[in-house]
C-alpha cells in the first residue's frame, strides 16, 4: 500500500544507504538508521532509505497517509485504528491534552505516539538527518549558517540529491548521492574512512550485515540440516555427509553474523533480547557440535532454526544501542551473560530432546529411555551448573557495581527459580520418584521457568533493575509457544498413559 509513494525499484540507493549518520549516540550507515526510524514509526522492518527521502520530498502527502503505528492501549483510548496519519494524530484532542500535561498520568503508549510524531517531523523537516560530522554531529537542515567548508559541501550535495529525487532524475540522483557520501567522509576521515581510503571497515561491515542478513541464511541451513538429519535417522545413511556439511554451513553463517556484530558494536553481542536469542541458538549448536549424536544434531538444528526465525522476524529491536553505564564492562558482560545464556541453551536442548523422546517413546522405548537417562540428564546437569555459576557471577558483578550481591531483583529471582525447579527435578529423580517418562515430562515443562527468566521478566513482568532490556514484542508468539508445548506434553502423557506400562 505504501509503495505507490515511491519511485521505481530500479533506482540505486546504495550510496545513500552507506552515508554515515549519527543517531542515538552512534555513527551508523544510513540504511540502518532508516530501518530504525521506520521500525519506530511503523513497528515493521519493511521500508528503508527511500521512505525517509520521500518524507522530505513530499512531506504534505505523508501528512495524510495513515502509516504511524498506534499501540493497543492508545488504539482503545484515542479511538484510532492500528495505523494513523500524522495529521489525525495532531488533531486528536485526548492526545493533545496529554501532550500539554493536562491528563495527570503517564501512558507509555501515548509517549510512544508523541515520540513517533516527533521523529516523523524531524525526518520530514531534515532536522533529524545528523549527517554533518562534528562534536556532536549537525543536522542537514539547521538554523544558522554553515560553519565550515565541509558542512557547506555536504548540504549542497544533499540538496542536489533531494532535487534529483523529487524531479525523478535517476542518473543525477546516483551521482549526487555518491557525492554526498564522499563529502561526508571527507569531513571526518579519521573516524569515517579506512586506512586505505574509502569508507571505514566498521561502517561497511554494518551495512553488509544489514543488507546481507547472515542469520537468514543460517536459519535456512538449519532447517535443511534438520530435514537431512531426520532422513538420516529414518535410515538414509547416504545423506550423512550432506547433513553434516549443511549443519556446519549454518553454524558458519551464524558465527559470522555474531562476530561481525561484535565488531560493529565493539562489545560482546549479548545485551538485549535479540542478541541473546541468537546467542542461545548458537549455544544449542555448540552443544550439538560436541555431542556427536544424530538425534541431538537434528533437534538442535530445529531449535536453533526457531531461535533465528524469532530473531529475524520483526518482533524484537535489533538495533545496536549504547549500553547503560553500569553494563559497560566487556569482561563481566561476557562472563556473566554468556554463562547464563549457555545454561538457557542447555535447558532448551534438554527440552527439545525430551520432546523428541516422548514422541517416539511408544515405538522405541529402549532408545527413548536411554536418551532421557543419559543425554538429557547430562545436559540438564550441565545447565544447572551453568545457571548456578551464571547467577553467582551476576551477584559478584552486582556486588562490585551496586554494592549488593543479591537484591531480589526479578531477573535474579527468576534465575534462582529456574535453578530451584531443575534442582528439585534432579533431587526427585535421585530418590527414584521419577521414572524416565516423568523425568522427560518434567524437563519439558521446567523450560517454562527458563522462558520466564529469559523473556518473561523483561516482557511480561516489566519490572526491576535489568530494565535495560525492557521492550515490547512477541508476547503472543511466546505465550502461544508455551501453550503448544504444554498441550504437546499433555498429549504425549495421555497417549503413553493409555499403555500404562511406562508410567
Amino acid at each position: 500500500m505504501l509503495f505507490f509513494m515511491f519511485y521505481s525499484l530500479a533506482w540505486s540507493f546504495q550510496s545513500l544507504d552507506l552515508v554515515p549518520v549519527q543517531s542515538e549516540g552512534r555513527v551508523k550507515p544510513f540504511i540502518v538508521f532508516a530501518h530504525e526510524v521506520m521500525f519506530t514509526l511503523t513497528a515493521e522492518k519493511k521500508l528503508g532509505s527511500e521512505a525517509l527521502l520521500s518524507f522530505m520530498a513530499h512531506p504534505h502527502d505523508w501528512e495524510d497517509r495513515a502509516f504511524i503505528f498506534v499501540g493497543p492501549d492508545a488504539q482503545k483510548r484515542l479511538k484510532l485504528g492500528k495505523l494513523v496519519s500524522p495529521r489525525a494524530l495532531m488533531r486528536n484532542d485526548v492526545l493533545g491534552q496529554y501532550a500539554r500535561g493536562i491528563l495527570k498520568e503517564r501512558v507509555p503508549d501515548f509517549d510512544a505516539l508523541l515520540e513517533r510524531l516527533h521523529v516523523f517531523r524531524q525526518i520530514s523537516s531534515g532536522e533529524g538527518w545528523m549527517m554533518v560530522p562534528g562534536e556532536p554531529w549537525h543536522a542537514l537542515i539547521e538554523t544558522g549558517s554553515d560553519t565550515d567548508l565541509h558542512s557547506a559541501l555536504i548540504r549542497r550535495a544533499f540538496l542536489e540529491m533531494l532535487r534529483a529525487y523529487t524531479e525523478k532524475r535517476q542518473d543525477d540522483f546516483a551521482r549526487a548521492s555518491a557525492g554526498l557520501l564522499q563529502s561526508v567522509i571527507a569531513a571526518d576521515p579519521v573516524h569515517l574512512a579506512s586506512v586505505w581510503g574509502g569508507i571505514s571497515l566498521r561502517l561497511v561491515t554494518e551495512y553488509g550485515l544489514e543488507v546481507f542478513r547472515p542469520y537468514r541464511f543460517a536459519w535456512i541451513m538449519y532447517a535443511l540440516s534438520a530435514v537431512f538429519y531426520g532422513l538420516v535417522l529414518a535410515g538414509l545413511r547416504r545423506l550423512e555427509w550432506g547433513a553434516r556439511s549443511i549443519f556446519f554451513a549454518g553454524c558458519f553463517f551464524h558465527a559470522a553474523g555474531m562476530l561481525l556484530r561484535a565488531f560493529v558494536a565493539q562489545r560482546p553481542p549479548v545485551t538485549n533480547m535479540y542478541e541473546s536469542i541468537i546467542w542461545v541458538g548458537f549455544g544449542i549448536m555448540l552443544f550439538a557440535v560436541f555431542w556427536q549424536k544424530r538425534l541431538v544434531q537434528c533437534v538442535a538444528s530445529i531449535l536453533a532454526c526457531l531461535c533465528l526465525l524469532a530473531a529475524d522476524s520483526a518482533l524484537f529491536d535489533d538495533g545496536v544501542h549504547p549500553l547503560m553505564p553500569v553494563l559497560r564492562s566487556n569482561y563481566w558482560l561476557t562472563v556473566h551473560v554468556l554463562t547464563i545464556t549457555l545454561s538457557y541453551a542447555a535447558f532448551a536442548l534438554a527440552m527439545g530432546l525430551a520432546n523428541a523422546a516422548l514422541f517416539f517413546w511408544k515405538r522405541y522405548p529402549v532408545e527413548a529411555i536411554a536418551l532421557v537417562q543419559t543425554t538429557v540428564y547430562r545436559i540438564v546437569q550441565i545447565g544447572v551448573i551453568l545457571v548456578a555459576a551464571g547467577t553467582i557471577l551476576g551477584g559478584i558483578w552486582a556486588d562490585s557495581s551496586w554494592g549488593r550481591f543479591w537484591g531480589w531483583d526479578p531477573k535474579e529471582v527468576w534465575a534462582l527459580i529456574t535453578l530451584l525447579c531443575y534442582a528439585a527435578i534432579l533431587h526427585a529423580r535421585f530418590v527414584g520418584w521419577m521414572r524416565p517418562v516423568t523425568f522427560a515430562i518434567a524437563i519439558s515443562l521446567a523450560f517454562v521457568s527458563v522462558i520466564m527468566a529469559w523473556y518473561g521478566v523483561n516482557f511480561v513482568l516489566g519490572a526491576g533493575l535489568h530494565s535495560y532490556g525492557f521492550s515490547q514484542g512477541g508476547q503472543g508468539g511466546v505465550l502461544g509457544g508455551v501453550l503448544i508445548e504444554c498441550a504437546y506434553v499433555l498429549w504425549r502423557y495421555l497417549a503413553l498413559e493409555k499403555e500404562r506400562k511406562f508410567l
Binding site: 500535561g101 493536562i102 549504547p322 555459576a389 551477584g395
Partner: protein
C-alpha cells in the same frame, strides 16, 4: 524425627515451595512495587522460616551421613556452600549497612541514609523503624500509622475553623501560566502573596506597578484590582465563585474556585505517579507527615517521621564530578566522583567502587540543576560483614555441583 528432617521428600517440597513463593513475589513486584514484594515475600517471616527449614534439612542430611567418607565430599561441598550463603545473607541483613550518601559539590558528608524509615517520639527511649512497605499498620508509643503512601505529592487544603481568617483559591490558565492550570491559594493568616511568572497575586493594597492582581477585604466581601504589564488598572468585586473580569494579554483567565471566610491550611498527601517522590504517612487521629516532617502531639511530645540514618566515622568530600555523554546525545555514558577521603583524593566510578575502612562506596547517580550542571553526587555506601561467607559459599556450590556431576558419570561408566 531426624529421618523426616533429613528426607529428600522434605528437600524437594521445600525447594518447590520456595520457587513458587518467589514467583509470587515477582508477580507482586510487577503489579505493585518492590517494597510490597519485600513485605509479603522476601522479608516476610514465613519466607525466613522456609529458608530455615531448608538449612535444617541440609544439615540433617549431612548429619545422617555420618561418618563422612570420601564419596561424600562433592555432596558436602555443594550443600555446605548453600548453608554458608544463607548464613552470609543473614549476616548481611543483620549487621550490614546499606544506604545512600549524597554530597553536594565541594561539600563534606558523613550521614548515610538507609532505606528504612523511623518514627521518633520525643522523650521515648526507643525509635520505631520499619522497612518501607505499603501495607503496614505500625504502632509507636502513643500512636499508630493508619495510611502509607510510597510516593507522595503534597497538596494544600483549607479547612474551615473559627479563626476569622479568609482564604481565596484561584485557578490561573493561559499566558505565563502556559500549559496546565495553576492553583493559587491566598490566605490572610500568612500566605498573603504569591508570584506566578511576572505577575503577583496578593491580599494587600494595589502596588504601583504591575502586572498583578490585588485583593482587599471589606468585612464580608473582597474587592480586587488588576494591573496589567502596561500599568492599566481595572477593578471589581469578588461576589463568589466564578471568573474575574481581567483584561490581561495572552488570554489569561482567573477563576475563583473557593472563597472561605474563616479557615486554615492543612497539608495533604496524595499518591504520586512519579516514583522518585519520597513517601508520606498518616498518623491515626493526627496529620499527614512527609518524610522529614514532624508535628507536636496533643500531649506536647514532638513526633518526627525521618529516614533512618547512620553516621560514617569519617568525612567524605566531593572535589570534582566528571560526566561524559554518548556522542550527540544527553545520555550519560560514564560518570566519576573524585572524593577527598582520609587525606587522599580518590575516584569512584561505574564498576569502580572505592573501599575505605571497611566501607565500600559505589557511584549510583547524580543531581543536576536546571542548567544541567552537576550539583551533587549520590553514592551507595555499603558495609557487608557477610560478604566473605557469601563468596566462599558460592564458590563451594559451583565446585560441589561440578564434582557431583563428574562423580555420577564415573559411577555409570
Amino acid at each position: 524425627m531426624l529421618a523426616f528432617l533429613a528426607s529428600l521428600k522434605l528437600a524437594v517440597s521445600t525447594i518447590l515451595f520456595i520457587a513458587i513463593g518467589l514467583a509470587v513475589g515477582t508477580t507482586l513486584e510487577s503489579g505493585y512495587d518492590a517494597k510490597t514484594a519485600a513485605y509479603y515475600v522476601y522479608r516476610a517471616w514465613w519466607f525466613y522460616t522456609v529458608l530455615a527449614v531448608l538449612g535444617i534439612n541440609i544439615i540433617a542430611v549431612a548429619v545422617s551421613k555420618l561418618p563422612w567418607r570420601k564419596k561424600h565430599i562433592p555432596f558436602l561441598l555443594a550443600h555446605v556452600g548453600i548453608i554458608m550463603v544463607l548464613f552470609g545473607a543473614w549476616l548481611t541483613q543483620r549487621c550490614g549497612i546499606d544506604g545512600t550518601l549524597r554530597i553536594a559539590l565541594h561539600e563534606r558528608g558523613h550521614t548515610v541514609r538507609g532505606d528504612k524509615a523511623s518514627i521518633i517520639v520525643q522523650n521515648e527511649a526507643r525509635d520505631v523503624s520499619w522497612q518501607p512497605t505499603e501495607a503496614v499498620a505500625i504502632h509507636f508509643p502513643g500512636g499508630r500509622i493508619d495510611r502509607y503512601l510510597p510516593y507522595a505529592e503534597a497538596k494544600v487544603q483549607f479547612v474551615a475553623d473559627a479563626s476569622k481568617k479568609a482564604a481565596i483559591h484561584l485557578e490561573v490558565v493561559g499566558g505565563f501560566a502556559m500549559r496546565a492550570a495553576q492553583d493559587v491559594w491566598l490566605w490572610e493568616g500568612g500566605w498573603r502573596s504569591m508570584q506566578l511568572g511576572p505577575a503577583l497575586f496578593a491580599i494587600k493594597k494595589p502596588a504601583k506597578k504591575g502586572p498583578g492582581l490585588f485583593f482587599e477585604r471589606h468585612g464580608e466581601s473582597f474587592s480586587y484590582t488588576s494591573i496589567n504589564s502596561d500599568g492599566k488598572k481595572s477593578q471589581g468585586v469578588v461576589s463568589g465563585v466564578g471568573f474575574l473580569d481581567i483584561p490581561w494579554r495572552g488570554g489569561v483567565t482567573v477563576r475563583v474556585l473557593d472563597l472561605l471566610w474563616s479557615a486554615h491550611p492543612e497539608t495533604l498527601y496524595e499518591l504520586s505517579p512519579d516514583r522518585t517522590q519520597t513517601p508520606a504517612i498518616h498518623i491515626a487521629g493526627g496529620p499527614w507527615l512527609g518524610l522529614g516532617e514532624s508535628y507536636q502531639r496533643g500531649d506536647g511530645a514532638l513526633v518526627a517521621y525521618v529516614p533512618q540514618v547512620a553516621q560514617l566515622p569519617f568525612d567524605v568530600q566531593l572535589e570534582r564530578f566528571d560526566l561524559l555523554f554518548d556522542p550527540g546525545t544527553k545520555k550519560a555514558a560514564a560518570y566519576t566522583s573524585w572524593v577527598h577521603i582520609g587525606n587522599e583524593t580518590k575516584a569512584i566510578g561505574m564498576n569502580e567502587p572505592l573501599t575505605y575502612k571497611g566501607y565500600t562506596f559505589y557511584q549510583t547517580s547524580y543531581e543536576q540543576d536546571e542548567q544541567g550542571e552537576v550539583v551533587a553526587t549520590v553514592l551507595s555506601v555499603n558495609r557487608d560483614p557477610g560478604r566473605p561467607l557469601t563468596y566462599m559459599g558460592s564458590f563451594l556450590i559451583v565446585i560441589g555441583s561440578v564434582l557431583l556431576a563428574l562423580r555420577q558419570k564415573r559411577k555409570r561408566s
